[in-house]
């Protein structure tokens, strides 16, 4: 496990053998949490797991475990059934973190795929907000919070419709 002494713990499991995605996400979260107290406040409100999978190579998948007082990152060889998973590419992640793109736009353009249960939606929206660059580092072209919530609602509707279709088609 690798971790620096900061006021908030962000731990990388696997050390040197961790994937590049896990390693870079670890550095990103550690840097944000060690320099921006607002990010720590956001992190403390998060409890749950989310998997980030690289669209460029879907074998690369990292679980981020939010535990309120700490965050743990680890590579997962297989996506567990029922897990919340976001699959997207490097440039789309960058645009998400800068607030230049929202999840709905990325979903609509096929740049992002998300699998989640409706009950996980508020958590997922919070995670996406937490993953954004700190306000101080962003250009003033961000997406307003209502778009995130509207997007979340649309996504939930879509997911509900998808589940409805699934259970109707494969009872």
């Amino acid at each position: 496990m690798v971790g620096q002494r900061v006021s908030y713990q962000v731990l990388l499991h696997g050390g040197d053998s961790a994937s590049g995605l896990a390693d870079m996400l670890h550095q990103y979260l550690l840097q944000n949490c060690s320099e921006f107290p607002g990010k720590v406040r956001q992190a403390r409100e998060l409890t749950g797991d989310v998997l980030f999978r690289a669209a460029e190579d879907e074998a690369v998948c990292v679980r981020i475990a939010f535990r309120g007082e700490s965050i743990g990152l680890e590579d997962v060889p297989h996506v567990p059934p029922g897990a919340t998973v976001m699959t997207t590419d490097f440039l789309s992640v960058a645009r998400l973190t800068r607030g230049e793109a929202g999840p709905v736009g990325l979903l609509a353009r096929g740049k992002m795929r998300v699998r989640f249960s409706v009950s996980q939606l508020p958590f997922l929206v919070q995670v996406l907000r937490f993953m954004q660059l700190p306000e101080e580092l962003r250009e003033k072209r961000t997406i307003s919070p209502w778009i995130w919530w509207a997007g979340g609602t649309l996504a939930a509707g879509g997911a509900g419709a998808g589940l409805y279709w699934y259970f109707q088609t494969f009872p």
């Binding site: 550095q27 990103y28 840097q31 440039l91 960058a94 800068r98 700190p134 580092l137």
Partner: protein, 157 residues
């Protein structure tokens, strides 16, 4: 045409990046210093097995100011990023046989630095690595990757 890792090659790479209009638009205006570490892995005929080649790229004002070899590993002072990978991987990228973004995500290329900056300038980083991979000026006098006993898939893994 220039031989990989020759002084002419570094000059060609600099000119290639600076000749790309899009890079001028995307590159950070602030000074950016990145060190590249090409580690001998026994597969590349250009880097001794236990040796390494180091080079430096300095971007400023949207242009590459320096693209030059280093005699030793950069000590880290004033450095924004350090990219480290086996020689056969860097050369596979230069020969357009390995995707650098995928190699980075898998951890074949180790990246150290300010990830916020990387996110802020992701398009420039992607363009820079794409140019590295799609330039056609490199000469490979000792053979071109993939090297003997190495496939494209295994070299990227």
């Amino acid at each position: 045409m220039s031989v990989i890792y020759s002084n002419d090659w570094y000059g060609d790479m600099k000119n290639l990046v600076n000749g790309t209009k899009e890079m001028e638009k995307l590159a950070p205006k602030n000074r950016l210093v990145a060190a590249f570490e090409v580690m001998g892995d026994g597969a590349s005929p250009y880097v001794p097995k236990d040796g390494a080649i180091y080079y430096l790229i300095v971007l400023e004002g949207g242009k590459v100011q320096e693209y030059k070899p280093l005699s030793t590993r950069h000590d880290g002072k004033g450095l924004n990023f350090r990219f480290t990978a086996p020689a056969s991987v860097w050369e596979g990228i230069a020969a357009a046989q390995i995707d650098p973004i995928t190699a980075g995500l898998r951890g074949t290329i180790k990246v150290r630095g300010d990830m916020r900056f990387l996110m802020q300038h992701a398009e420039a980083v992607k363009l820079l690595v794409d140019l590295y991979g799609h330039q056609v000026n490199t000469e490979w006098p000792l053979g071109k990757p993939p090297y003997a006993g190495q496939t494209q898939a295994s070299s990227a893994a």
